[in-house]
């Protein structure tokens, strides 16, 4: 209740606590999903259940072989699950990869415009809209640059702008900051948090980095490996603004890491 009062009085952009699940359909619902790539081989995912509320930021962490990327591909609709059901509120979720995956023959703006073109946005509007989206990720004045003229952090921000250009309320992210240096990563964490609240996105964020998960997520889901499944999850009630150094973030990360190590150790026995 008090959260609502605060929202009315002043535009609190980052809710301190997770909002009550909004009514209506979930942003992402994964129910009893298993994925087998080759017959006779163990499944990559087994009995996976995951529900993401509209506007929620969920981080998935796990060791190698937990099927994180497989799960994202399924939610993105790039593959179909062997069994189980997946429903997504957006027609086509946006997906960001570990690599920026920008097309090198296009400018920063051209990459964003391609996403707009795929949506059927008219030529005249595309330019202005791409310019606006690049401003959202703080890349004003860089729209004419080619991909090779941008740093790693700038490329990932162009990729984020391109994902936003899909105008999907669901954003899937597959270790998008794993290849960046620590300073750039910290800056992008803040940038992403801001964009998430401003745009009212539902985010599914996959990472190896437990601290990153605790820093960003409203909920952290730990996945077990071989087969991938949900082991445990944590509500993250650490108020924003957070940083990677926030005490709460460190404490939670320690706890998740302990659990993760237990899960990993099982495989060595």
């Amino acid at each position: 209740m008090s959260t609502n009062v605060a929202t009315v009085e002043a535009p609190v952009r980052t809710p301190a606590v997770r909002p009550a699940p909004a009514p209506g359909p979930a942003a992402v619902r994964v129910a009893g999903v298993s994925q087998v790539f080759e017959r006779g081989r163990p499944p990559v995912l087994q009995g996976m259940d995951l529900t993401v509320a509209p506007g929620e930021f969920v981080c998935l962490v796990g060791a190698s072989g937990c099927g994180k990327s497989t799960l994202l591909n399924l939610i993105a609709g790039l593959n179909a699950p062997t069994t189980g059901e997946i429903s997504v509120s957006a027609e086509r979720p946006a997906l960001m990869f570990q690599e920026p995956a920008l097309l090198p023959w296009l400018t920063a703006s051209g990459n964003v415009e391609l996403a707009l073109r795929a949506r059927g946005v008219g030529r005249a509007e595309r330019r202005a809209e791409a310019e606006r989206l690049l401003r959202v990720v703080n890349l004003e004045g860089h729209s004419g640059k080619r991909v090779h003229e941008l740093s790693g952090g700038m490329r990932q921000r162009v990729a984020l702008a391109r994902a936003l250009a899909q105008d999907s309320k669901v954003l899937l992210m597959d270790e998008p900051f794993a290849a960046l240096d620590a300073i750039t990563r910290d800056v992008l964490h803040q940038e992403l948090t801001r964009v998430w609240t401003e745009q009212g996105l539902s985010v599914v964020f996959v990472t190896h980095n437990v601290r990153e998960a605790a820093r960003l997520g409203q909920r952290v889901v730990l996945l077990g490996s071989r087969p991938g499944r949900v082991v445990r999850e944590w509500q993250v009630d650490i108020p924003h603004p957070r940083t990677i150094e926030s005490p709460g973030v460190g404490t939670l990360a320690t706890e998740i890491t302990r659990e993760l190590h237990q899960e990993i150790s099982r495989h060595g026995q």
Binding site: L78, W105, A118, H142
Partner: protein
């Protein structure tokens, strides 16, 4: 109330955090981004670096040739002096023979290359689209690339007699395999990630081909075109050298043949020089700048 207590100062902090964050971000961008390339070397230095060396080499070559001539190593109908050849060259330029031969050959080359471009591209696309076709004709197409196309001249003459059709047949057989293989190679090298991007963005199959696949394959395709032109030009010279008929006009290959029949070494050397000059000119004026532009745009060339 607890959340209001933590939320209110939080609001200010979030805003200040964002402002600070943007400042740090802008600083990182300025530090990390590739600096603007310094302006290329000046005209004078470029001349010294890339134009002067070949000129010096050519001058040395002519010098050695002159020495050999003065030493009288061979009779002058076998080894004419540079001055004799120069005079012959000037004569062919002045009486219009050179221009006519260049025009005849170059227009043939352009038409033959244009046909090869269409056929080679279609063939490359078809081979990329059909696994079966690729398996069936891939080895033959690659094999044709290493077959000297002069080997086709007798067959072409038997099929089409001494005609332009015979010449174009030889040119096509020389250039089409290179272009088809270049396009196929370019398409095969497109990172699968790019196609996934196209699918995530929701592009249709045609849209992915048009906006993702073909542009991504462009560097390989350009390499194929460049090689295709070189093969077309060589094939054309081979064909012109052998298919000689008054009705065919007089191309550079035919000019070369006249030199042989008249045992005029100066005309032979003049013709070879012209053939070489046209090949180098097309390469330097058309393909090299095109390729450089495409590669530079993608950051695939080191700064000079």
């Amino acid at each position: 109330m607890a959340s209001e207590g933590s939320g209110r100062p939080g609001l200010a902090l979030v805003d200040r955090g964002d402002v600070e964050n943007r400042a740090v971000e802008a600083g990182l961008d300025a530090l990390d981004a590739a600096p603007d390339l310094p302006a290329g070397p000046g005209l004078g230095r470029r001349f010294v670096r890339s134009v002067l060396p070949p000129l010096v080499f050519l001058a040395a070559l002519v010098g050695v040739w002159q020495l050999a001539y003065v030493a009288d190593l061979k009779p002058s109908y076998v080894l004419p002096s540079p001055a004799d050849v120069g005079a012959k060259f000037w004569e062919t330029v002045q009486d219009g023979t050179a221009v006519e031969a260049i025009w005849t050959s170059l227009s043939r080359g352009a038409i033959g290359f244009a046909m090869s471009l269409v056929l080679g591209s279609l063939l490359g696309l078809a081979m990329w689209g059909s696994r079966w076709l690729r398996a069936a004709i891939g080895p033959i197409v690659s094999g044709l690339q290493s077959l000297p196309s002069v080997a086709w001249v007798p067959a072409a003459i038997i099929w089409f007699s001494l005609s332009n059709a015979a010449i174009y047949t030889v040119v096509l057989l020389g250039a089409v395999p290179s272009i088809a293989n270049g396009l196929l190679g370019g398409l095969k090298q497109v990172p699968p990630l790019f196609d996934r991007v196209g699918r995530v963005l929701g592009l249709s199959t045609l849209g992915r081909i048009r906006y993702v696949l073909l542009p991504a394959a462009l560097p390989g395709y350009l390499g194929g075109l460049r090689q295709g032109w070189a093969f077309a030009w060589r094939s054309l010279m081979a064909a012109e050298l052998i298919t000689y008929s008054p009705s065919l006009g007089q191309g550079l290959g035919q000019l070369l043949n006249i030199g042989r029949e008249l045992s005029q070494m100066s005309l032979v050397i003049t013709s070879i020089t012209l053939i070489l000059a046209v090949g180098v000119a097309i390469e330097l004026l058309l393909f090299a700048p095109l390729e450089r532009r495409v590669l530079t745009r993608r950051g695939l060339t080191a700064a000079r």
